[in-house]
Symmetry: C2
Subunit: 78 residues, 2 copies
């Protein structure tokens, strides 16, 4: 089982990507964790270290995939 992490900030673009892309991954192959960076601010550093520059972003196998554009990490950090 591979690990995938979906980082978001609750924005409309994030919700659309979560519902339509992140939740469409094969649950038989991926264990998907959903992280709301506005609520779990202690994980902002972790996301940035993984290369996340904006949300929503999906990290699979350590590779960041930015899906459309909701907010920059600078805005998430506030």
């Amino acid at each position: 089982m591979k690990k995938a992490v979906f980082y978001h900030a609750g924005c409309p673009v994030c919700v659309q990507a979560e519902d339509t892309v992140a939740k469409s991954l094969d649950a038989g192959r991926f264990d998907v964790e959903f992280v709301h960076l506005g609520e779990e601010r202690s994980r902002i550093d972790e996301a940035e270290k993984l290369g996340v520059e904006s949300v929503p972003a999906l990290v699979i196998d350590g590779q960041p995939f930015h899906i459309n554009f909701g907010a920059s990490m600078k805005d998430v950090r506030g």
Copy 2:
């Protein structure tokens, strides 16, 4: 079965998104078509009508999701 279309142009960013994201969709729920716009140029109009602005992009349920950035549609059109 829902239809998903992954539009790309064979670029490195496209290949990475294809291998890691598009091929990770649940095959039990999605019928994923892979379209290389450099080879199937007649489908560029279709992609743009669906809202695709750059590749790689994944269209699910008529909603375009741009995954990272490989090339603009303007560059694809050439």
